[in-house]
């Protein structure tokens, strides 16, 4: 178990360097970062900026410097906000996490019971209904779902605000939008992991012993279905964040996603790099936690 832990930590370190490399390459992929940062500046200004930013050094040298700066949390000054980029991103993180957690909570509250029911009652009316919902949910563009909800609840019924972030009511539509995106994904995983265990021998044995159906599902089946569920849910977390970025843009939610999307439009690269890096860090941390949880939850590894 210890060697496994060490191997996981080493992989974490390698992935972090890789993540930094890709973040670094955003600014350098076009070949000339200066014309990207100031497209209309005269040549003299460009030369000055090139020297000031150290763009004349060899790329590996620049990358090592970027790696060092990243480790110190220094992504440079935002051109647009005229302030250090990383704090600007981080101060908007709670909003994004709040939105993601609310949507995740709503999704789990819907997907777990529905997934169990559809796995038990296969080929029933409710199973077909859920399948249809999954197909529609995964085929709808998130931003369109959001606009349709605005149309219905804010424009037609006038019960909820169109956009903004003033009260709890402003949280309702973004949460539902993001949940319509994430629920079908989770529902599919819950259903298939329940189907994997529900006909195994030990579940049948429990039934044969006269354990009540409810207890069989909760105590025997669900616990063993939890392992694949945790793994896949961790992998899907990146998708949830992608959905959050789009949702924030639709509803003008002042989170990290909206900040980065407008920074991309303004070619404010320090913010873009800091933002992309922070998002990647969240996913890396979630996946690392899932890895540890997997080791802990899986008795085959824990005992060894």
């Amino acid at each position: 178990m210890l060697t496994l832990l060490i191997r996981r930590v080493v992989r974490l370190a390698v992935v972090l360097v890789g993540v930094t490399l890709i973040t670094f390459s955003i600014l350098h992929v076009s070949g000339d970062p200066v014309s990207l940062m100031m497209p209309e500046a005269p040549e003299a200004d460009r030369v000055a900026l090139r020297a000031a930013m150290g763009f004349n050094d060899a790329l590996p040298v620049q990358f090592m410097r970027f790696l060092g700066n990243t480790a110190m949390g220094n992504f440079g000054q935002s051109f647009f906000h005229r302030a250090p980029a990383l704090p600007l991103v981080l101060e908007r993180m709670p909003t994004t996490l709040l939105l993601s957690m609310c949507a995740m909570g709503l999704s789990l509250a819907l997907a777990i019971p529905l997934g169990i029911i559809t796995a038990i009652r296969r080929a029933s009316f409710i199973d077909y209904g859920a399948t249809a919902v999954v197909f529609f949910g995964t085929s709808m563009p998130v931003f369109w779902t959001g606009i349709m909800l605005i149309l219905l609840f804010a424009v037609q019924l006038r019960v909820l605000p169109v956009s903004g972030w003033e009260s709890w009511a402003s949280l309702v539509l973004p949460t539902i939008t993001l949940a319509t995106f994430s629920t079908p994904l989770l529902l599919r995983i819950v259903r298939s992991s329940m189907l994997d265990v529900i006909n195994l021998d030990y579940v049948r044995t429990a039934r044969a012993k006269g354990v009540s159906e409810w207890l069989v599902i909760c105590r025997h089946a669900l616990i063993n279905a939890a392992l694949p569920l945790v793994t896949v849910a961790g992998l899907q977390f990146g998708l949830l964040l992608t959905g959050a970025i789009i949702t924030e843009t639709v509803f003008a939610v002042p989170g990290m996603g909206r900040l980065i999307v407008s920074a991309i439009r303004q070619l404010d690269f320090p913010i873009v790099q800091a933002g992309v890096f922070v998002f990647a860090m969240i996913i890396v941390i979630v996946n690392f936690t899932v890895d540890l949880l997997y080791i802990y939850l899986n008795p085959q590894i824990r005992v060894r």
């Binding site: 390698v14 563009p141 606009i147 149309l151």
Partner: protein, 301 residues
């Protein structure tokens, strides 16, 4: 039969492949949902290819007196504009028809890019094992640590929006699924007797990969590609919506929805219909892909 002893087994193989093909086809057609998906997809492709003849109006023609015309069935609708007009009086239906060109083209081309990159890396990782495998799986790990759309958005902004950039960037965000699936299949296949036999008979590594391993991953690749086209269409729409569209002459569905967002309280039809176009197209492809998976290969997640 003039080639001698080699001919019969080849013919048997061809016949078997034909039988397999028609079995898959029958399974596909017998499913009403997949059949409906196929019909819809053919209509969308037809609309895209024959856009100049299908579209009732010129999609770029503006008319200020006709702006915000509602759809034909609503009060004030005009028969010339079945789905209404936008904020500068352009015909929505015609713009949707032309928009299908961008969506389908970008969707298919992006998948071609991810397929090429992903399958190559998957074959190498699975076949060569060891160091190469470790490096490739690490790259996949790193890649999966980013919200794919955000990365695509940043790179498109850095490279400047153009159809080619969008296709390459979207292609490079989806390759790792191919790598994972192909790698897993090759790892299982390389232990099989027929691969051992090919190696023992002196087949080179390249020949073993291309003639023996690759063909056995085709069914997974076909299923995955179908579903990936649907994903690529959604991603292209999201990129256009977020403001880094393909910069092409044609309107895109995502861009139309983004424009409609600003007028949502006065003209509901601006965003609604392009979104329905995306939903119907992507749903059709997903239904076909799901059926293909059942018919061809139950393993692809």
């Amino acid at each position: 039969m003039s080639i001698g002893t080699l001919a019969p087994p080849l013919e048997v193989a061809a016949a078997a492949r034909l039988a397999e093909g028609s079995r898959v086809w029958r399974k596909l057609v017998r499913n009403p949902a997949a059949l409906a998906g196929a019909v819809v997809l053919v209509l969308v492709i037809g609309a895209a290819v024959f856009a100049p003849w299908v579209a009732p109006q010129d999609p770029a023609r503006q008319s200020l007196i006709r702006r915000f015309t509602p759809p034909i069935w609503a009060e004030g609708g005009k028969s010339a504009h079945v789905l209404g007009t936008d904020q500068v009086g352009r015909d929505i239906l015609s713009r949707i028809v032309y928009g299908a060109r961008v969506s389908l083209l970008v969707g298919v081309a992006a998948v071609a890019v991810s397929l090429t990159v992903g399958v190559t890396l998957g074959l190498l990782a699975g076949f060569l094992h060891g160091r190469v495998d470790t490096v490739i799986t690490t790259v996949v790990d790193v890649w999966l640590s980013f919200p794919q759309l955000l990365l695509a958005l940043a790179f498109v902004a850095a490279l400047g929006p153009s159809p080619t950039t969008i296709i390459v960037v979207l292609g490079l965000t989806g390759w790792e699924r191919y790598t994972r699936v192909v790698r897993a299949e090759v790892l299982a296949l390389r232990e099989k007797d027929f691969v051992e036999a090919a190696r023992a008979m002196g087949a080179s590594a390249a020949r073993t990969i291309l003639r023996h391993l690759l063909p056995n991953t085709f069914s997974s690749i076909i299923v995955l590609s179908t579903l990936q086209v649907a994903q690529a269409i959604l991603q292209e729409a999201a990129l256009s919506f977020l403001g880094v569209g393909s910069g092409s002459a044609y309107p895109t569905w995502g861009q139309m929805i983004a424009l409609g967002r600003d007028f949502v309280s006065v003209a509901w039809w601006l965003s609604t219909f392009p979104g329905l176009a995306i939903l119907v197209t992507v749903l059709a492809i997903n239904l076909i892909g799901d059926r293909l998976r059942d018919a061809l290969d139950p393993r692809v997640g």
